[in-house]
Symmetry: C2
Subunit: 182 residues, 2 copies
DNA sequence: ATAATATCGAACAGCAAGTTCGGTAACAAA
DNA sequence: TTTGTTACCGAACTTGCTGTTCGATATTAT
Protein backbone atom coordinates (compact mmCIF):
# COMPACT_ATOMS: atom_id res chain seq x y z
CA UNK A 1 0.00 0.00 0.00
CA UNK A 2 1.16 3.48 -0.87
CA UNK A 3 2.91 5.24 2.00
CA UNK A 4 0.61 8.25 1.56
CA UNK A 5 -2.43 6.04 1.89
CA UNK A 6 -1.06 4.42 5.02
CA UNK A 7 -0.28 7.77 6.56
CA UNK A 8 -3.71 9.20 5.86
CA UNK A 9 -5.45 6.07 7.07
CA UNK A 10 -3.46 5.97 10.28
CA UNK A 11 -3.98 9.68 10.89
CA UNK A 12 -7.71 9.27 10.49
CA UNK A 13 -7.87 6.26 12.79
CA UNK A 14 -5.81 8.00 15.44
CA UNK A 15 -7.86 11.19 15.33
CA UNK A 16 -11.06 9.18 15.43
CA UNK A 17 -9.94 7.21 18.49
CA UNK A 18 -9.02 10.41 20.30
CA UNK A 19 -12.43 11.86 19.59
CA UNK A 20 -14.19 8.66 20.63
CA UNK A 21 -12.65 8.92 24.08
CA UNK A 22 -14.22 12.29 24.67
CA UNK A 23 -17.40 12.50 22.69
CA UNK A 24 -20.45 10.50 21.67
CA UNK A 25 -20.01 8.79 18.34
CA UNK A 26 -23.27 10.28 17.13
CA UNK A 27 -22.02 13.81 17.76
CA UNK A 28 -18.62 13.41 16.14
CA UNK A 29 -18.55 15.11 12.74
CA UNK A 30 -16.44 14.29 9.73
CA UNK A 31 -15.25 17.89 9.91
CA UNK A 32 -13.75 17.29 13.34
CA UNK A 33 -12.06 14.08 12.26
CA UNK A 34 -10.36 15.54 9.21
CA UNK A 35 -9.29 18.63 11.12
CA UNK A 36 -7.66 16.57 13.87
CA UNK A 37 -6.21 14.13 11.35
CA UNK A 38 -5.10 17.04 9.17
CA UNK A 39 -6.30 15.53 5.91
CA UNK A 40 -8.60 16.88 3.23
CA UNK A 41 -12.29 16.20 3.14
CA UNK A 42 -12.09 14.34 -0.16
CA UNK A 43 -9.31 12.18 1.27
CA UNK A 44 -11.52 11.01 4.10
CA UNK A 45 -14.23 9.91 1.70
CA UNK A 46 -11.64 8.23 -0.52
CA UNK A 47 -10.84 5.96 2.42
CA UNK A 48 -14.21 5.49 4.13
CA UNK A 49 -17.71 5.64 2.77
CA UNK A 50 -19.10 7.12 5.97
CA UNK A 51 -18.38 7.66 9.66
CA UNK A 52 -20.15 4.36 10.34
CA UNK A 53 -17.84 2.39 8.07
CA UNK A 54 -14.86 3.98 9.76
CA UNK A 55 -16.17 2.77 13.11
CA UNK A 56 -16.72 -0.70 11.74
CA UNK A 57 -13.21 -0.91 10.35
CA UNK A 58 -11.75 0.37 13.59
CA UNK A 59 -13.58 -2.28 15.58
CA UNK A 60 -12.57 -4.90 13.05
CA UNK A 61 -8.88 -4.11 13.44
CA UNK A 62 -9.16 -3.75 17.19
CA UNK A 63 -10.83 -7.06 17.96
CA UNK A 64 -9.13 -8.92 15.18
CA UNK A 65 -5.83 -8.09 16.83
CA UNK A 66 -7.09 -9.29 20.17
CA UNK A 67 -9.12 -12.36 19.36
CA UNK A 68 -8.15 -13.75 15.98
CA UNK A 69 -4.40 -13.61 16.36
CA UNK A 70 -4.23 -17.19 17.59
CA UNK A 71 -4.54 -18.37 14.02
CA UNK A 72 -1.47 -16.42 12.97
CA UNK A 73 2.05 -17.68 12.34
CA UNK A 74 4.21 -18.63 15.30
CA UNK A 75 6.33 -15.52 15.25
CA UNK A 76 3.42 -13.34 16.30
CA UNK A 77 2.55 -13.33 20.00
CA UNK A 78 -1.08 -12.59 20.70
CA UNK A 79 -3.12 -12.05 23.79
CA UNK A 80 -3.68 -15.76 24.45
CA UNK A 81 -0.10 -16.90 23.93
CA UNK A 82 1.87 -14.91 26.42
CA UNK A 83 1.41 -17.15 29.46
CA UNK A 84 0.00 -20.41 28.29
CA UNK A 85 -0.96 -21.72 31.70
CA UNK A 86 -3.08 -18.81 32.92
CA UNK A 87 -6.86 -18.98 32.52
CA UNK A 88 -7.89 -17.14 29.40
CA UNK A 89 -10.37 -14.88 31.19
CA UNK A 90 -7.73 -13.70 33.64
CA UNK A 91 -5.60 -12.85 30.62
CA UNK A 92 -8.38 -10.78 29.19
CA UNK A 93 -8.95 -8.83 32.41
CA UNK A 94 -5.22 -8.16 32.70
CA UNK A 95 -4.83 -6.94 29.16
CA UNK A 96 -7.85 -4.73 29.47
CA UNK A 97 -6.64 -3.08 32.67
CA UNK A 98 -3.31 -2.61 30.90
CA UNK A 99 -5.15 -0.53 28.30
CA UNK A 100 -3.63 -2.64 25.52
CA UNK A 101 -4.76 -1.44 22.09
CA UNK A 102 -6.41 1.50 23.82
CA UNK A 103 -9.28 -0.82 24.61
CA UNK A 104 -9.83 0.36 28.18
CA UNK A 105 -10.07 3.98 27.07
CA UNK A 106 -12.72 3.09 24.54
CA UNK A 107 -14.64 0.85 26.94
CA UNK A 108 -14.59 3.63 29.54
CA UNK A 109 -15.95 6.30 27.22
CA UNK A 110 -19.54 7.19 26.54
CA UNK A 111 -19.29 4.86 23.57
CA UNK A 112 -18.75 1.82 25.78
CA UNK A 113 -21.95 0.12 24.62
CA UNK A 114 -20.75 0.12 21.03
CA UNK A 115 -17.44 -1.47 21.87
CA UNK A 116 -18.87 -3.88 24.42
CA UNK A 117 -21.22 -5.06 21.70
CA UNK A 118 -18.35 -5.85 19.34
CA UNK A 119 -16.44 -7.32 22.26
CA UNK A 120 -19.21 -9.75 23.07
CA UNK A 121 -19.57 -10.85 19.47
CA UNK A 122 -15.94 -11.91 19.44
CA UNK A 123 -16.08 -13.33 22.92
CA UNK A 124 -18.82 -15.76 21.95
CA UNK A 125 -16.49 -17.61 19.58
CA UNK A 126 -14.07 -18.02 22.43
CA UNK A 127 -16.70 -19.19 24.90
CA UNK A 128 -17.61 -22.17 22.76
CA UNK A 129 -14.45 -23.81 24.07
CA UNK A 130 -15.17 -22.89 27.68
CA UNK A 131 -18.40 -24.76 28.29
CA UNK A 132 -16.83 -26.92 30.98
CA UNK A 133 -16.89 -23.86 33.22
CA UNK A 134 -20.49 -24.72 33.99
CA UNK A 135 -19.76 -28.33 34.96
CA UNK A 136 -21.40 -29.24 38.21
CA UNK A 137 -23.52 -26.10 38.37
CA UNK A 138 -27.27 -25.81 38.09
CA UNK A 139 -26.76 -24.21 34.69
CA UNK A 140 -25.17 -27.34 33.25
CA UNK A 141 -28.40 -28.70 31.81
CA UNK A 142 -29.36 -25.59 29.85
CA UNK A 143 -29.31 -25.54 26.00
CA UNK A 144 -25.82 -25.20 24.58
CA UNK A 145 -26.31 -21.90 22.76
CA UNK A 146 -27.89 -20.50 25.91
CA UNK A 147 -24.84 -21.49 27.92
CA UNK A 148 -22.37 -20.02 25.44
CA UNK A 149 -24.29 -16.78 25.37
CA UNK A 150 -24.56 -16.81 29.15
CA UNK A 151 -20.83 -17.11 29.77
CA UNK A 152 -20.06 -14.29 27.34
CA UNK A 153 -22.83 -12.14 28.80
CA UNK A 154 -21.68 -12.56 32.37
CA UNK A 155 -18.11 -11.78 31.39
CA UNK A 156 -19.17 -8.58 29.66
CA UNK A 157 -21.42 -7.54 32.53
CA UNK A 158 -18.72 -8.21 35.11
CA UNK A 159 -16.30 -6.22 32.98
CA UNK A 160 -18.76 -3.36 32.74
CA UNK A 161 -19.28 -3.36 36.51
CA UNK A 162 -15.53 -3.47 37.09
CA UNK A 163 -14.93 -0.45 34.86
CA UNK A 164 -17.95 1.49 36.14
CA UNK A 165 -16.84 1.09 39.75
CA UNK A 166 -13.32 2.29 38.97
CA UNK A 167 -11.25 -0.89 38.52
CA UNK A 168 -10.85 -1.20 42.31
CA UNK A 169 -10.29 -4.96 42.27
CA UNK A 170 -7.22 -6.75 40.95
CA UNK A 171 -7.56 -8.80 37.77
CA UNK A 172 -7.21 -11.92 39.92
CA UNK A 173 -10.05 -10.88 42.21
CA UNK A 174 -12.36 -9.87 39.40
CA UNK A 175 -11.70 -13.20 37.71
CA UNK A 176 -12.80 -14.92 40.91
CA UNK A 177 -15.93 -12.77 40.96
CA UNK A 178 -16.58 -13.83 37.40
CA UNK A 179 -16.29 -17.52 38.23
CA UNK A 180 -18.45 -17.12 41.32
CA UNK A 181 -21.14 -15.34 39.36
CA UNK A 182 -21.27 -17.99 36.66
CA UNK B 1 -54.24 19.95 29.93
CA UNK B 2 -55.83 21.34 26.80
CA UNK B 3 -57.51 18.67 24.68
CA UNK B 4 -55.58 19.88 21.64
CA UNK B 5 -52.32 19.44 23.46
CA UNK B 6 -53.24 15.94 24.54
CA UNK B 7 -54.23 14.96 21.01
CA UNK B 8 -51.04 16.26 19.47
CA UNK B 9 -48.89 14.67 22.14
CA UNK B 10 -50.57 11.31 21.75
CA UNK B 11 -50.37 11.47 17.95
CA UNK B 12 -46.66 12.19 18.14
CA UNK B 13 -46.01 9.38 20.61
CA UNK B 14 -47.96 6.91 18.54
CA UNK B 15 -46.27 7.84 15.27
CA UNK B 16 -42.90 7.70 16.96
CA UNK B 17 -43.54 4.23 18.36
CA UNK B 18 -44.60 2.97 14.94
CA UNK B 19 -41.43 4.31 13.39
CA UNK B 20 -39.26 2.88 16.16
CA UNK B 21 -40.51 -0.59 15.34
CA UNK B 22 -39.24 -0.37 11.79
CA UNK B 23 -36.28 1.95 11.72
CA UNK B 24 -33.15 2.89 13.65
CA UNK B 25 -33.72 5.76 16.02
CA UNK B 26 -30.72 7.56 14.56
CA UNK B 27 -32.26 7.50 11.09
CA UNK B 28 -35.76 8.63 12.06
CA UNK B 29 -36.31 12.26 11.09
CA UNK B 30 -38.60 14.80 12.67
CA UNK B 31 -40.11 15.20 9.22
CA UNK B 32 -41.23 11.57 9.23
CA UNK B 33 -42.67 11.83 12.71
CA UNK B 34 -44.80 14.88 12.04
CA UNK B 35 -45.98 13.50 8.73
CA UNK B 36 -47.14 10.26 10.33
CA UNK B 37 -48.56 12.09 13.34
CA UNK B 38 -50.17 14.65 11.03
CA UNK B 39 -49.13 17.69 13.04
CA UNK B 40 -47.24 20.80 12.06
CA UNK B 41 -43.53 21.16 12.46
CA UNK B 42 -43.86 24.00 14.96
CA UNK B 43 -46.24 21.88 17.00
CA UNK B 44 -43.68 19.16 17.40
CA UNK B 45 -41.11 21.58 18.71
CA UNK B 46 -43.69 23.15 21.00
CA UNK B 47 -43.95 19.75 22.73
CA UNK B 48 -40.42 18.37 22.55
CA UNK B 49 -37.09 20.11 22.37
CA UNK B 50 -35.57 17.40 20.20
CA UNK B 51 -36.01 13.83 19.00
CA UNK B 52 -33.85 12.72 21.92
CA UNK B 53 -36.15 14.34 24.50
CA UNK B 54 -39.11 12.66 22.85
CA UNK B 55 -37.39 9.31 23.25
CA UNK B 56 -36.61 10.03 26.87
CA UNK B 57 -40.19 10.97 27.65
CA UNK B 58 -41.48 7.90 25.86
CA UNK B 59 -39.23 5.65 27.90
CA UNK B 60 -40.17 7.50 31.05
CA UNK B 61 -43.86 6.88 30.52
CA UNK B 62 -43.30 3.33 29.38
CA UNK B 63 -41.24 2.12 32.31
CA UNK B 64 -42.98 4.27 34.85
CA UNK B 65 -46.19 2.45 33.97
CA UNK B 66 -44.51 -0.89 34.36
CA UNK B 67 -42.25 -0.48 37.35
CA UNK B 68 -43.34 2.44 39.49
CA UNK B 69 -47.03 1.68 39.64
CA UNK B 70 -46.64 -0.23 42.88
CA UNK B 71 -46.45 3.07 44.72
CA UNK B 72 -49.82 4.17 43.31
CA UNK B 73 -53.19 4.20 45.01
CA UNK B 74 -54.95 0.90 45.55
CA UNK B 75 -57.45 1.29 42.75
CA UNK B 76 -54.73 1.00 40.12
CA UNK B 77 -53.59 -2.50 39.28
CA UNK B 78 -50.02 -2.66 38.08
CA UNK B 79 -47.81 -5.38 36.72
CA UNK B 80 -46.80 -6.69 40.12
CA UNK B 81 -50.25 -6.79 41.68
CA UNK B 82 -52.24 -9.02 39.39
CA UNK B 83 -51.30 -12.37 40.89
CA UNK B 84 -49.68 -11.72 44.19
CA UNK B 85 -48.27 -15.21 44.69
CA UNK B 86 -46.42 -15.59 41.40
CA UNK B 87 -42.69 -14.83 41.30
CA UNK B 88 -42.15 -11.31 40.05
CA UNK B 89 -39.78 -12.38 37.28
CA UNK B 90 -42.31 -14.81 35.86
CA UNK B 91 -44.75 -11.90 35.82
CA UNK B 92 -42.33 -9.83 33.85
CA UNK B 93 -41.70 -12.53 31.26
CA UNK B 94 -45.43 -13.06 30.85
CA UNK B 95 -46.24 -9.42 30.41
CA UNK B 96 -43.45 -8.99 27.94
CA UNK B 97 -44.55 -11.91 25.79
CA UNK B 98 -48.05 -10.43 25.96
CA UNK B 99 -46.65 -7.30 24.31
CA UNK B 100 -48.19 -5.15 27.05
CA UNK B 101 -47.46 -1.47 26.49
CA UNK B 102 -46.00 -2.44 23.13
CA UNK B 103 -42.85 -3.34 25.01
CA UNK B 104 -42.12 -6.53 23.09
CA UNK B 105 -42.33 -4.72 19.76
CA UNK B 106 -39.83 -2.17 20.92
CA UNK B 107 -37.51 -4.74 22.48
CA UNK B 108 -37.61 -6.74 19.23
CA UNK B 109 -36.74 -3.82 16.99
CA UNK B 110 -33.32 -2.63 15.95
CA UNK B 111 -33.59 -0.19 18.84
CA UNK B 112 -33.63 -2.98 21.41
CA UNK B 113 -30.37 -1.85 23.03
CA UNK B 114 -31.88 1.52 23.86
CA UNK B 115 -34.92 0.04 25.53
CA UNK B 116 -33.04 -2.76 27.23
CA UNK B 117 -30.82 -0.10 28.75
CA UNK B 118 -33.79 1.75 30.24
CA UNK B 119 -35.28 -1.58 31.23
CA UNK B 120 -32.22 -2.56 33.19
CA UNK B 121 -32.06 0.78 34.97
CA UNK B 122 -35.54 0.25 36.32
CA UNK B 123 -34.97 -3.42 36.99
CA UNK B 124 -32.08 -2.66 39.32
CA UNK B 125 -34.40 -0.94 41.80
CA UNK B 126 -36.52 -4.05 41.83
CA UNK B 127 -33.60 -6.43 42.26
CA UNK B 128 -32.57 -4.82 45.52
CA UNK B 129 -35.41 -6.74 47.11
CA UNK B 130 -34.50 -10.01 45.42
CA UNK B 131 -31.06 -10.65 46.85
CA UNK B 132 -32.15 -13.84 48.54
CA UNK B 133 -32.23 -15.44 45.10
CA UNK B 134 -28.51 -15.98 45.49
CA UNK B 135 -28.79 -17.69 48.88
CA UNK B 136 -26.80 -20.89 48.98
CA UNK B 137 -25.01 -20.22 45.72
CA UNK B 138 -21.35 -19.51 45.16
CA UNK B 139 -22.29 -15.94 44.34
CA UNK B 140 -23.64 -15.32 47.82
CA UNK B 141 -20.42 -13.84 49.17
CA UNK B 142 -19.98 -11.22 46.44
CA UNK B 143 -20.35 -7.48 47.17
CA UNK B 144 -23.95 -6.35 47.42
CA UNK B 145 -23.96 -3.89 44.52
CA UNK B 146 -22.28 -6.53 42.39
CA UNK B 147 -25.03 -8.99 43.22
CA UNK B 148 -27.84 -6.55 42.48
CA UNK B 149 -26.27 -5.65 39.17
CA UNK B 150 -25.69 -9.31 38.41
CA UNK B 151 -29.30 -10.35 38.90
CA UNK B 152 -30.55 -7.52 36.71
CA UNK B 153 -27.91 -8.24 34.08
CA UNK B 154 -28.70 -11.92 33.86
CA UNK B 155 -32.40 -11.17 33.59
CA UNK B 156 -31.83 -8.76 30.72
CA UNK B 157 -29.45 -11.13 28.95
CA UNK B 158 -31.85 -14.05 29.29
CA UNK B 159 -34.63 -11.85 28.00
CA UNK B 160 -32.50 -10.79 25.05
CA UNK B 161 -31.68 -14.42 24.25
CA UNK B 162 -35.33 -15.39 24.54
CA UNK B 163 -36.40 -12.70 22.09
CA UNK B 164 -33.51 -13.26 19.69
CA UNK B 165 -34.27 -16.97 19.45
CA UNK B 166 -37.94 -16.34 18.73
CA UNK B 167 -39.71 -16.74 22.08
CA UNK B 168 -39.76 -20.52 21.65
CA UNK B 169 -39.93 -21.26 25.38
CA UNK B 170 -42.92 -20.64 27.63
CA UNK B 171 -42.63 -17.90 30.26
CA UNK B 172 -42.48 -20.64 32.88
CA UNK B 173 -39.58 -22.39 31.17
CA UNK B 174 -37.63 -19.21 30.57
CA UNK B 175 -38.10 -18.29 34.22
CA UNK B 176 -36.55 -21.63 35.16
CA UNK B 177 -33.68 -20.96 32.78
CA UNK B 178 -33.22 -17.61 34.50
CA UNK B 179 -33.06 -19.17 37.97
CA UNK B 180 -30.69 -21.90 36.77
CA UNK B 181 -28.39 -19.35 35.19
CA UNK B 182 -28.19 -17.22 38.33
C1' DA C 1 -68.83 36.87 24.08
C1' DT C 2 -64.14 37.33 25.05
C1' DA C 3 -59.46 36.45 25.93
C1' DA C 4 -56.04 33.09 25.86
C1' DT C 5 -53.62 29.62 23.49
C1' DA C 6 -52.60 25.62 20.48
C1' DT C 7 -52.21 24.80 15.93
C1' DC C 8 -51.00 25.39 11.05
C1' DG C 9 -48.09 26.24 7.14
C1' DA C 10 -44.71 28.23 5.00
C1' DA C 11 -40.55 30.41 4.95
C1' DC C 12 -36.03 30.88 6.91
C1' DA C 13 -31.07 30.35 8.60
C1' DG C 14 -27.61 27.10 10.01
C1' DC C 15 -25.07 23.07 9.79
C1' DA C 16 -23.15 18.75 8.40
C1' DA C 17 -22.95 15.07 4.76
C1' DG C 18 -21.21 13.65 0.76
C1' DT C 19 -19.65 14.95 -4.28
C1' DT C 20 -16.96 17.08 -7.83
C1' DC C 21 -12.92 18.79 -10.11
C1' DG C 22 -8.68 21.00 -11.43
C1' DG C 23 -4.16 21.59 -9.74
C1' DT C 24 -0.14 19.74 -7.09
C1' DA C 25 2.99 16.62 -5.02
C1' DA C 26 4.56 12.02 -4.00
C1' DC C 27 5.29 7.59 -5.62
C1' DA C 28 6.96 3.33 -8.39
C1' DA C 29 9.03 1.56 -12.37
C1' DA C 30 11.97 1.89 -16.30
C1' DT D 1 16.41 10.67 -14.14
C1' DT D 2 12.41 10.48 -16.50
C1' DT D 3 7.69 9.17 -17.01
C1' DG D 4 3.21 7.74 -16.06
C1' DT D 5 0.27 6.89 -12.15
C1' DT D 6 -1.95 7.81 -8.04
C1' DA D 7 -3.11 10.13 -3.75
C1' DC D 8 -3.85 14.35 -1.89
C1' DC D 9 -5.52 19.13 -1.37
C1' DG D 10 -8.90 22.71 -1.14
C1' DA D 11 -12.60 24.91 -2.40
C1' DA D 12 -17.01 25.13 -4.13
C1' DC D 13 -21.33 22.89 -4.49
C1' DT D 14 -25.87 20.16 -3.80
C1' DT D 15 -28.73 18.03 -0.70
C1' DG D 16 -31.19 17.07 3.40
C1' DC D 17 -32.30 17.74 8.14
C1' DT D 18 -32.63 20.72 12.22
C1' DG D 19 -34.69 24.06 14.87
C1' DT D 20 -36.91 28.92 14.68
C1' DT D 21 -40.07 32.51 13.43
C1' DC D 22 -44.44 34.68 12.42
C1' DG D 23 -48.96 35.89 10.96
C1' DA D 24 -53.35 33.75 10.36
C1' DT D 25 -56.85 30.49 12.02
C1' DA D 26 -59.39 27.57 15.00
C1' DT D 27 -60.23 25.72 19.53
C1' DT D 28 -60.64 26.13 24.28
C1' DA D 29 -61.84 27.80 28.98
C1' DT D 30 -64.18 31.38 31.77
Amino acid sequence: MDRRQRKSREAIFKAFEELLKKRDFAHITVGEIIEKADVGRATFYAHFETKEFLLKELCGELFCHIFDAEENEHNHRHIFECKGEEPVFLHLFKHIRNNDNNLLSLLSSSNNEIFLGYFKENLIKLCESQLDLLKGRSAEKLPEDFKINHIASVFVEVLKWWIDTGLKESPETITEYFYMAL
